[in-house]
């Protein structure tokens, strides 16, 4: 067997963290390699938060503790949006399988109520999140959004430091994490600061695809370390049964306009 073939097999036997979204797991050849830090990126209204929450719920249903760190939206509002899911159970919240923490509360506890963090404060923040993950036995984490956190870091150096240290700390604890990244529809890159996308183990791009006046919600796995995967574009729908995906049809030829 060639070295390249052995490498492919080795990649595909890494333990997987199944997202619970059948078609996405299929695209990823079984799920996200456990411990990976993934950037879920896209413009507003493309389904990033919904997909991330579903990832946590399926984990909790399978007995894995999940933590949602919310920077932009109060968790009560998020919870209200989750309840219409057929598979959501309130006892997951009551039992602590699913925990929602508003980042401003964490900032306040750490004395980080400020507009810009120093390098030491970045370390304090990553250490605190990692410690929390360890104490709570969290196996799945969502940070919504990493863009908002990075906004307070300002420099490329601090952003790199934050994403690297957080990813490393979480991976050591066997925690698979989704970092939600907000970009503009016109952006030609996968993250606002350009740093996050280079450091993340994977990038899942969510967007809108316009075809002859129809606007379709799309998902594309651009990068995923530790597994072979499809790089094709899929169309998705958010339903009470969760996110469903089908391949984007190409028979109509060109003329589509991705954003």
């Amino acid at each position: 067997m060639s070295v390249a073939a052995r490498k492919v097999i080795a990649q595909d036997i890494r333990e997987r963290c199944t997202t619970g979204i059948d078609s996405l797991d299929s695209v990823l050849n079984g799920g996200i390699p456990r411990g990976n830090t993934i950037l879920i990126t896209g413009a507003c209204g493309t389904g990033k938060t919904t997909l991330s929450v579903e990832f946590l719920i399926h984990g909790a249903l399978a007995g894995e503790n999940g933590l949602f760190l919310s920077v932009t939206e109060a968790h009560e509002k998020l919870l209200a949006n989750m309840m219409p899911y057929d598979f959501m159970r309130k006892d997951l919240l009551d039992s602590g399988r699913l925990t929602f923490i508003d980042m401003p509360v964490l900032y306040h506890k750490l004395g980080l109520d400020k507009s810009e963090f120093t390098l030491e404060e970045v370390e304090l923040l990553t250490d605190s999140i990692t410690k929390l993950v360890g104490e709570m036995g969290v196996k799945r984490l969502v940070l919504d959004s990493v863009t908002s956190v990075c906004f307070q870091l300002k420099s490329e150096e601090k952003i790199r430091d934050f994403v690297l240290k957080l990813g490393k700390g979480l991976a050591e604890k066997g925690c698979t994490s989704l970092l939600v990244s907000e970009i503009l529809p016109s952006d030609m890159r996968y993250s606002t600061y350009g740093v996050e996308e280079a450091i993340a183990d994977g990038i899942i791009l969510m967007g809108n695809y316009e075809r002859r006046g129809d606007l379709l919600r799309t998902l594309q796995v651009v990068k995923m370390r530790g597994t072979s995967h499809s790089r094709a574009k899929y169309v998705l729908d958010i339903t009470p049964l969760g996110v469903l995906m089908v391949p984007l049809l190409k028979g109509g030829g060109g003329g589509g306009n991705a954003s």
Binding site: L216, V246, G251
Partner: protein
Amino acid sequence: MGVQDAVTSKLAEVPAGTSLALQVSIPVYLDVIKGIIDNYGARSRVSIIYVTSSIPSRSILSAFEVLEINSDHVSFVDCVTHTMVSAVEKGKNIYLVESPTMLENLMLKVEFLTRKLSGGKVLVLLDSLNSLCIHNSIGIVSEFLHIMVNNLRAKGVPSVILMVQEHGTEEVKNMLNVCDEMMVLDEGTAK
């Protein structure tokens, strides 16, 4: 054998996951629909996912009422109603797709319903291939049909793909080759 009985007995004998192409002439169109919905679906307790790109679901339901066809077991995926200028009235078991050009969303609604109804027997009826071709290129409809039929086949869900003979071109007929079986239903005959 009458058209209704021919369709009913064919559906009863095909293995799970079979896709059946029906070339139907206009005079027997309603008989065929009655055979699928009433004689087969209602009596065999099979949930029908009725994908309509020809007539709004409300109009089909009105016709069912006149013909005294029970429709409790029918869920509609309707990609016609939204294209009408009048106000959209959404009913129970009606899932609207904005436009017949949004073929992926049509597949997603079928996927949703097959999952939702997975506890019992399900059949997907596509009415019709001709009308989808009014709004889409042959290439994209072929791709859509290929993916949907194979998806349903893999899940063991039977499907019926309907083509109205009088409106069918050679290209549309060729598309039906993706199906496992074919029936031609004319006035008084079933082949």
